[in-house]
Amino acid sequence: MEVRVVNVRKEFELFPALHDVSLDIRSGELIALLGPSGSGKTTLLRLIAGLERPTKGAIFFGDEDASQKSIQERNVGFVFQHYALFRHMTVADNIGFGLKVRHGAARPSAQEIRRRASELLDLVQLSGLEKRYPAQLSGGQRQRVALARAMAIEPKVLLLDEPFGALDAQVRRELRRWLREIHDATGHTTVFVTHDQEEALELADRVVVMSQGRIEQVGSADEIYDIPNSPFVYNFVGESSSLPVKVEGGELWIADRPIGLSAPQGAPSGEALLYFRPHDVELLEGCSGCIAGTVAASRRVAGTRRVELEVGGERQRVEIELPVDHPAAQKSRVAFRPRRWKLFPAA
């Protein structure tokens, strides 16, 4: 099911949580809402679910306006960070709950409900735990039950609110892969909220980066990582370095030296900020048209060495990454030029 969010605004007691947000979610897509806390990502998810009503704007499921429907009518599967399982029901009863509360002809027979429950338990790899109570399961198992419960009603959309947030790192990685497999097998349109960029980039077909109630960028992991369209995305997703530069005569300057990059079309002359990824640089011997700096600090980070350089007259600090065995790390002076970069107006 295709979901369209159209110009949605949401205020909580006059405090705006979302400003005029629009988003198209394609059918069968696995999409991540990524952002720091307070960015409005959970609010957007709850609006899609019907747990909140938009102050303005509309949400469409296919061609149908869902905004005026209650959560019960929307038929969405919602998975909470803290599982929200029914403590007094067995695993099988939890999963069957959505079918049991249906009325009349829509309600399958008890036998059919049992069959569906054990089928879903197989899918989430918890066969044989039908009779257990949630208190007797581990966190990872509980979240699997929660997902099975949400899928039992054959939802139009599957919504997951920080589904792995309460789990430890190893279980989280395992469940991430498993969720991707389930998604590929069942093909539900799925939206999940996370503040973990690694999770979003690894798992989702497309990532929606949000900040302060607005969508900053929507794109695939490659697009988000390689072509960030704002300083916020540069900072929030992956590592980034920035330097104040000057635009003059179609060239970029630091202090009085050109750095060998030509300004993009239409960039206004004057102060600006240059953003690039620390690992996406080319090291140069000698320097006519480069960024040069003295090594101020050098740290070993996993497979690379991260070097902090002092650049220019004002001794701006900037980080770049070097291969561990690269001799430049020992030198007092290093020259480089970013391979991929972007210019933003100075704040």
């Binding site: 747990l51 019960q72 909470f80 929200a84 403590r87 709950f97 509360v101 249906r102 109570y133």
Partner: protein, 283 residues
């Protein structure tokens, strides 16, 4: 009591790393013995001295049986009423924010603090045939004061805080997300309450019922004012005990007390078992 333990492998289960187990257990036992066990065993002792036939004659007396029936019956009805309305009161206090909520919350505790005789007199004044409420009920043929119905009213008053105060904290802990999860699965408001919220509250409600019931069985002060105390009709067992004492008939008094003790113990035991069962289920 024989003291067989200490030998042959019998040991206290290693309780925890926190020291002082021996000391605190010893203190608890001594304290319970002093405060509860000695007085109660004195009671059993005195009534045992009575002999089986005499004991049975007193207990099987029609007046005694009626008094017991009224005591336990009214306490049961009052506790059942309190479970329903106490739960609603707790719900309102936990779920809604309204002006005067704190005052209403404090008011719930008043039956704890008020001398029960005062409550009894106040209720009698209200529900007497010429009282404010009593005169409204009179044309409908409902008599409250001086009937078992009056006893129920008094016990409802006395027992209310027991239910509210046991249910309230559990209700506060209910996770909003559980309700939202149920709603997202298509459950109506009514289904959420009956299938999700209520079963979670069951252990607390059973506890509240037990406390209100136990309090009602033992209540004396408020009831004697409103009950009218007609033998066979509205005479409660605690009152009968006092009457027997005033007649210097100590044997009969202890015998009734002993049978009340036994009945109360059995009922609380049943409630406790029900609770353990529901705890185990609802974890």
């Amino acid at each position: 009591m024989t003291t067989a333990p200490a030998q042959a492998g019998w040991r206290f289960r290693q309780p925890s790393v926190i020291p002082g187990f021996g000391l605190t257990l010893g203190f608890s036992l001594a304290y319970l013995t002093l405060i509860i066990l000695i007085p109660l065993s004195g009671l059993v002792w005195r009534s045992a001295a009575l002999g089986w036939t005499d004991f049975w004659a007193i207990v099987a007396d029609r007046r005694t049986l009626n008094a017991l029936k009224i005591s336990f019956g009214t306490a049961f009805i009052a506790a059942a009423v309190n479970v329903v309305f106490g739960t609603i009161v707790a719900w309102v206090l936990v779920r809604y924010r309204f002006p005067g909520r704190r005052i209403a919350d404090a008011m719930v505790d008043l039956p704890f603090a008020l001398p029960t005789a005062v409550a009894g007199i106040a209720l009698t004044t209200l529900y007497a045939p010429n009282g404010w409420i009593g005169q409204l009920l009179m044309p409908l043929g409902i008599k409250v004061a001086y009937t078992p119905l009056g006893i129920v009213v008094a016990l409802v008053f006395i027992g209310l805080p027991f239910v509210v105060r046991t249910v309230q904290p559990i209700m506060e802990e209910i996770d909003r997300e559980v309700e939202e999860a149920a709603a997202s699965l298509g459950a109506s408001r009514f289904q959420i309450i009956t299938r999700v919220l209520f079963p979670g509250l069951a252990p607390a409600i059973i506890t509240g019922f037990a406390l209100a019931f136990a309090r009602g069985v033992g209540e004396y002060g408020s009831v004697i004012f409103i009950a009218g105390n007609l033998p066979f009709k509205s005479e409660i067992a605690p009152l009968l005990i006092v009457i027997r004492l005033e007649e210097y008939n100590y044997e009969a008094a202890t015998a009734i007390a002993a049978i009340m003790l036994a009945l109360s113990f059995v009922m609380l035991l049943v409630v406790n078992l029900a609770q353990t069962w529901s705890r185990k289920r609802y974890g």
